[in-house]
């Protein structure tokens, strides 16, 4: 009797050796294992490279941009894309490529810090709610339901109106972090609460209780590490969402103030000239779209890679 394995005909002896091989799988850490599987996913890898490149570009922006951020040049206004201006220039002769790179600082910064703020609030809230359960959980989750009922954008707009209109860019950015953090922690709180609620019934948690572990230890050493996967995925999917919200806010004039560039703000400046100078709106539009797609693909890939059921098979 022969067995077919991965397209090859193998005799019984080889089959046994193959089984032994699977049992004696080389020892690798969870992180390494996840990374291996992620790298096999081409789309996710390309997305990851794009995100890293963009993040690096945002950090070292002054070093790689050919012009100053707000540097006008009245000799070359409204230029179409060329070797001198990769993405063209606007009505003041400012280089669009330079402004896109600088704009990513605001967009990525707000999205990253907003998401991390939301994660901190949401994980803590959800962990307490899910671990203690009962009426504590009931009360805490009804509050989340209440917050969900509130229109998100309206809430952010109200929050942003509190900040005086002539504030510095820094203060507006902080306002954005807080506003976005306050509205987007709800989903992660529900996610973590659900995970904790189901995991609390697992026997390894019961074993920890039987050993005399404190609630804090059970949450931090047993429940949270087993929730990291879903949290990381939520994070990678929340960031593009916040990039879009930040762009929306800048578009309607509630984001950072000109001349500081942000993708939404540039879109707002450019869309009026869509017919004659489409690159003014297309450049930030494409930047937003590409970044969102990259984060989404990366998040999808990460979800598959973190799934322990995918271990050992591709």
């Amino acid at each position: 009797m022969t067995v077919e394995v991965r397209g090859e005909q193998l005799g019984p002896t080889e089959k046994i050796i193959l089984d032994a091989d699977i049992l004696e799988r080389p020892r690798i850490s969870m992180v390494r294992d996840t990374l291996n599987r992620l790298l096999k996913n081409k789309v996710a890898t390309v997305s990851a490279i794009y995100i890293i490149a963009l993040a690096v570009a945002a950090i070292i922006a002054p070093l790689i941009t050919p012009y100053g951020r707000d540097e006008p040049n009245f000799q070359s206004t409204r230029e179409t894309p060329s070797a001198e201006h990769f993405f063209g220039s606007d009505k003041l002769g400012r280089d669009i490529f330079t402004r896109i790179i600088f704009g990513s600082r605001v967009s990525l910064g707000v999205a990253f810090i907003g998401s991390f703020t939301a994660m901190l609030i949401g994980v803590t809230y959800g962990a307490i709610s899910g671990y203690f359960g009962g009426w504590v959980d009931d009360l805490m989750m009804r509050f989340v339901d209440l917050m969900f009922g509130f229109p998100t954008l309206l809430f952010i707009i109200l929050m942003m109106l509190i900040i005086p209109p002539n504030s510095s860019t820094g203060l507006i950015m902080v306002g954005l972090f807080v506003a976005l953090g306050l509205v987007s922690w709800l989903n992660v709180a529900r996610l973590v609460r659900g995970q904790f609620l189901s995991m609390r019934e697992k026997e390894f948690v019961e074993a920890a209780v039987a050993l005399g572990a404190s609630p804090f230890r059970i949450m931090s050493r047993h429940l949270l590490p087993n929730t990291i996967g879903p949290i990381v995925i939520w994070l990678t999917l929340s960031i593009p969402g916040l990039i879009l919200v930040e762009s929306t806010l800048s578009f309607i004039g509630l984001g950072v103030k000109p001349p500081v560039p942000s993708w939404g703000g540039m879109l707002a400046e450019g869309w009026r000239a869509m017919r004659t100078l489409p690159h003014l709106a297309l450049a930030p539009g494409i930047a937003i779209t590409l970044t969102m797609i990259a984060f989404n693909f990366f998040g999808d890939g990460l979800r598959d890679a973190l799934d322990p059921m995918m271990r050992g098979r591709e």
């Binding site: 209780v209 572990a213 322990p308």
Partner: protein
Amino acid sequence: MMSDNGNQAMVEITNLKKYFPVTQGLLRRVVGNVRAVDDVTLQIIKGETLGLVGESGCGKSTLGRTILNLHKPTSGTVLFEGTDLSGLSGHDLRSMRARMQIIFQDPYSSLNPRMTVNAIVGEPFIIHKIARGTELDQRVAQLLERVGLNPLLGTRYPHEFSGGQRQRIGIARALALNPSFIVADEPISALDVSIQAQVVNLLEDLQDEFDLTYLFITHDLSMVRYICDRVAVMYLGKIVELGSIEDIYDNPQHPYTQALLSAVPVPDPIVEDQRQRIILEGDLPSPADPPTGCNFNTRCPIAFDRCFEEEPQLKDLLPRHDIACFAAEERLQV
């Protein structure tokens, strides 16, 4: 009872009840109770292995967990070496936990997938601040070796082990704090037959070595005969018969025990052909709505009027052999 005999009780369970409320609606109004453990009185003697048998859903595991205070009892007391566990909470309860441990049924869900074996087995020492650094490493290595695992495997994760190996890791974790009492909650039912024997032998060796008392929860009656000293038969949250292995296997009195034992196959084709099987009709009634009178009256082949009106109590109808059955009472006392 056994204590008259000069034996020392390690765990004394008195009128223990564990009801899980059934709630309805937004305000969680209690509309009923699932009587998982219903008025159990039982002593576990120091050094013995007490088997707890019964079919799925009869409350065996809940009883084991309630004894360890992993579930808060609804009422009743559990005295562990003289200390009332239900009176303890917080820090006091957590430090008591070092003396009693549990081994779980499913070796796949009882180990944290994100911790290495060293971290899992070493956790008890860290929680109770007993050892750290190189001493911790040594104690973990000793434990792994004691349960038959190569200490070099300690840096691996649970998913890299087989079911039997994982169960050994669970046993090492339970042994770490040198407990005197261990609840083994179906520790072998998820394992292959060949591995079952290994794990059972390991548990027996450890009992001799560390002077352990076991509550061995199982539905495998052939295994009970092999490793237990006494057996408690449980039906729908209540103990219906309690006695030594010999008494229960050779002279079962409760009709439920008789039916259970008649289901155990005999490895002799001639005997197997001739033996009479008692087939129970119907299913276990819902523990949320137990029958009035004797719990077993819906399926009992010999139930009579009294069984539908009164609830039989566990009585020592024979020397050191307790039975909760009116039929047995009449048979044995008249």
